[in-house]
């Protein structure tokens, strides 16, 4: 059995007294595309940043995060820096602010390369040129400044920068949220191509179900900083077991099903400083029973590679 590229166990992130992420666990296998889904405030971005240890100093992290078998919590700052950008890389949500406005795009992509290796200037320039080409940007544009490129181009350039060193894992934090719909598609296609050609595993973080449906082989659903369901995408989309996942799917228009009313999930996500008793979703859940208010359910298996955190999972249509 192959080792996972990323292995997260019992990850808990606290800011002061408040636990924003609570005992999250997930695995990403080599070459896999895993989707981390949840609404804003569910803790997905914090989880992503915790994987690369990019959280502010006041965040208290416990649990284990293993990158290619190495525990990142035990690493020195130096080792961590060596891994960032080379073994694991990240693309961020807002392409408008993700590039340094005073340096050229090409220089910034080259920086990703030269920080980890020492190729000559000429070599680096050539590499930048071919990277840009692979994401569909003319190599001559390397001389451009960030404000001279469109949002979509910037996001593609970011992607080029992220794969510059052939990472084993790329974390994409809401890569399409800030983009137009037409451009979103291009970027998604780009990611699929990169994954297929270079075998880079991707942890795709998003609140957009439509995006994960087309790309991810597995999904992890996060709610209030906890994993509430995880499993193969096909299973989760066709037969979700957690009430939250079901509600999430119902709030998104589907082409493969007859048109029904979109149902918004009533209520608000819980305040991490003031969590509800028992299950985190219980105040908004239509299936809640007394037990849900008493104790938080554990993550239990309901099928092959499929887990649910619920006392009363949704029944499967026979």
């Amino acid at each position: 059995m192959t080792d996972p590229v990323l292995s997260v166990r019992d990850l808990t992130v606290r800011f002061g007294e408040v636990a924003v992420v609570d005992k999250v666990g997930l695995d990403v296998m080599p070459g896999e595309i895993v989707g981390l889904v949840g609404e804003s405030g569910s803790g997905k971005s914090v989880t992503a940043r915790a994987v690369m240890r990019l959280l502010p100093r006041r965040a208290a992290i416990s649990g284990s995060v293993r990158l290619l078998g190495e525990d990142i919590g035990a690493m020195s700052e130096r080792r961590l820096r060596a891994l960032r950008g080379s073994v694991v890389s990240m693309i961020f949500q807002d392409p408008m602010t993700s590039f340094d406005p005073v340096h050229r795009i090409g220089a910034q992509i080259a920086e990703a390369i030269t920080v980890h290796a020492r190729p000559g200037w000429r070599k680096a320039t050539k590499r930048v040129g071919s990277l840009l080409e692979s994401v569909g940007i003319a190599p001559a544009r390397a001389r451009a400044f960030p404000h001279e490129l469109s949002g979509g181009m910037r996001q593609r350039a970011m992607t080029a920068m992220a794969v510059a060193n052939g990472p084993a894992l790329m974390i994409a934090d809401e890569p399409t949220t800030a983009l137009d719909v037409t451009v979103q598609d291009q970027v998604m296609q780009l990611m699929r191509d990169l994954n297929q050609s270079s075998g880079t595993a991707i942890l795709l973080i998003t609140h957009n179900i439509a995006v994960v449906a087309s790309l991810c082989s597995r999904l992890v659903v996060l709610y209030a900083g906890r994993v509430v369901e995880d499993g193969p995408t096909a299973d989760l989309l066709s037969a979700p077991r957690h009430p939250y996942t079901t509600a999430l799917l119902r709030s998104v228009p589907r082409l493969d099903q007859p048109a029904t009313r979109l149902v918004a999930i009533s209520g608000q996500p819980p305040d991490p400083a003031n969590p509800p008793s028992g299950c985190m979703f219980q105040p908004r859940c239509e299936r809640a029973i007394a037990r849900c208010r008493e104790a938080e359910p554990p993550l239990g298996a309901v099928g092959a590679g499929h887990h649910v955190r619920c006392w009363r999972p949704v029944e499967v249509a026979a």
């Binding site: 990019l54 891994l83 890389s89 961020f92 590039f99 005073v102 990703a112 980890h116």
Partner: protein, 324 residues
């Protein structure tokens, strides 16, 4: 790059024309602000009738005002800022004589202030919220609140009079006639206190603005992106954050240059430094109005030039400012 500089220079120069015009016009009209006959203003106290008539003729004071203005404008354009009553020589000539001393003082002070100010500002931003940061902020506030001439006086009292480490005043030791390296050392020793005094105000200002700009820059997304790439913290601080914040620093220096110039006047008085500031002061006392207004016009033009220069440098530093 040179093409860019030339284009920026041209554009900014065109923009400064109205400013220059305004300064010249203001100087012209300010003399007429004073009660009484402008001829007396320009001729000095108790002039002989012949001299008075000469002044009237030279300045065309019997002609209509707009003709006078045109003459004034034309003369200013050719560098003729009038004639000093006391020195009996063209104002411009007198200014040029004293310029090197002031340029030395102000130039060194600005360079030192910029370097120290930037270092203080960056280190304060790096440790934002710490006691060190708070201490620097308090010192900054103190530095901008206290008038520079008093700082100068206190420094003299402590370091020159009490401790005797530095000379009390002057640019060179009065009786000695040093040459070569001894001369350079002599001037340097005399420069320490005045430069420090002049630099204090600027250092605190630069430190404060640099700190704010650095904190702003460090909170930007691209800093996180750079960290995610594995870039080291020193590089992030200087190559990315400071490189973005430096535009603010340069802008501040440009804007405060007028205050620096005013500072040189008082510093030169306090330290007996033989430069333009002293010239200005003497002109006040001797009621040498041509010299006074001429020097004012000169300094205003220098301020405009420095401002323009700083704008150009900012455009060179930040590509987003280059849209023509």
């Amino acid at each position: 790059m040179t093409g860019l500089i030339l284009r920026l220079l041209l554009k900014r120069l065109v923009g400064t024309v109205p400013l220059v015009f305004a300064v010249v016009a203001l100087t012209f009209f300010v003399i007429r602000l004073a009660p009484g006959d402008p001829a007396f203003i320009l001729a000095g106290e108790a002039p002989t009738p012949e001299f008075l008539a000469q002044v009237r003729a030279e300045n065309g004071l019997d002609k209509p005002v707009w003709v006078q203005f045109m003459t004034f404008l034309g003369r200013a354009a050719t560098g003729d800022f009038g004639k000093s009553i006391f020195a009996g020589r063209p104002v411009f000539e007198v200014i040029l004589e004293r310029l090197p001393a002031t340029a030395l003082l102000a130039g060194v002070a600005m360079v030192i202030a910029s370097v120290v100010g930037v270092l203080l500002g960056v280190s304060a931003a790096k440790r934002a919220g710490s006691t060190q940061d708070a201490a620097i902020s308090v010192l900054s506030l103190l530095g901008t609140s206290v008038p520079s001439f008093w700082i100068g006086q206190v420094l003299i009292l402590v370091f020159a009079v009490w401790l005797g480490w530095f000379p009390v005043s002057g640019m060179v030791a009065a009786r000695a006639r040093y040459t070569g390296f001894n001369h350079v050392w002599d001037v340097a020793v005399h420069m320490v206190l005045p430069v420090t005094t002049l630099a204090v105000y600027l250092v605190t200002l630069i430190a404060r603005f640099t700190r704010t700009a650095m904190i702003e820059a460090l909170s930007q997304d691209f800093i996180l992106v750079a960290r995610a790439k594995g870039v080291g913290s020193r590089t992030i601080l200087w190559h990315h954050a400071f490189r973005n914040a430096v535009v603010t620093t340069v802008t501040v220096i440009g804007l405060e240059f007028g205050a620096v110039l005013a500072g040189t006047v008082v510093v030169e008085i306090v330290f007996g430094w033989p430069g333009l500031g002293r010239l200005f002061y003497d002109a006040i006392y001797r009621r040498d109005f041509p010299l006074l207004t001429g020097s004012f016009m000169f300094s205003a033009l220098v301020v405009i030039a420095v401002n323009t220069l700083s704008e150009i440098i900012c455009a060179m530093l930040d590509p987003r400012l280059r849209r023509t």
